[in-house]
Amino acid sequence: MANFTPISAAIGGALIGLSAALLMLLNGRIAGVTGVFAGLIDPTGIDRAWRATFIAGLIVAPLSAALVGFTLPIPQMPTNLIVVAAGGLLVGFGTRLSNGCTSGHGVCGIARLSPRSITAMVIFMAAAIVVVALTRHVFGG
């Protein structure tokens, strides 16, 4: 397990949890990025201000990390932009249909022990594992 980084993973995860708890304490909202983002771009969306600033915070955080001297790695993405766009469409449509992603269902929902969110997480994890197995071990090098 040469790539395992348990300490940074635990610190980062705790910060994500802290953010979710704080957003509920301060604004009474679930820290689900799908819901926040969709409500921001939906033409009929309401309560845009806090959504916009949450998204802004998500983007400013890595910028501030780079400013204080951390390396901000350029993400490794598939070279075929059609695959990238297809992935984005699936993620956008799918998370909206199921009403949550890794944060809304995975963190906030499971923290409430919601059977609905546990089901969502099991299904999207399983689907992603199958796709990675196919792309890496069946069709890929």
Binding site: G12, G13, G28, V60
Partner: protein, 156 residues
């Protein structure tokens, strides 16, 4: 104040994604690649991120269950409990997209900070997927379909 509070929360969330390594698609895919377990190349980091996030959120939510939020008149706890077709179908589609690229919505948006063009393509496509869903949902509305706002009173 609400906008400022959520700016801070988004900022803490973004730092969490950054420090945990979850902004890196290669690291996320390294977790999803369970067939790498026998070779010793599997990366269980994402499981630790989830466990830590769940522990903190779980304790926080338990304490806040009956509390009124500071800058809002009431908490917006999710109300949906149904395990229905949209939940299952949406989760499958999301999982396929996540497995193809290694980005879910939070890290995708945080990665806009890198101004990398594939990330911009991904986020634009993600926004398009969201809007396509909403248009399709609006067309399929019948008198008994919950409005999108009601449907959104749930999850995240």
């Amino acid at each position: 104040m609400r906008a400022l509070a959520s700016l801070f929360c988004g900022f803490v969330f973004g730092w969490g994604l950054f420090i945990s390594g979850m902004m890196r698609p290669d690291k996320v895919l390294g977790f999803l690649d369970v067939f790498a377990i026998p070779s010793g190349k599997w990366d269980p980091s994402l499981a630790v991120v989830m466990a830590a996030a769940l522990a903190v959120t779980g304790v926080g939510y338990a304490l806040l269950r009956r509390r009124t939020p500071i800058f809002e008149t009431q908490s917006h706890w999710p109300t949906q409990t149904a395990i229905d077709r949209p939940l299952v179908a949406g989760s499958i589609l999301f999982g396929v997209g996540w497995g193809l690229v290694g980005l879910c919505p939070g890290p995708a948006i945080a990665n806009l900070a890198t101004l990398s063009s594939p990330v911009i393509v991904f986020v634009v496509a993600m926004a398009a997927g969201t809007l396509v869903h909403d248009l399709w949902y609006a067309r399929s509305v019948t008198p008994d379909t919950p409005s999108l706002a009601q449907a959104n009173a749930a999850d995240g």
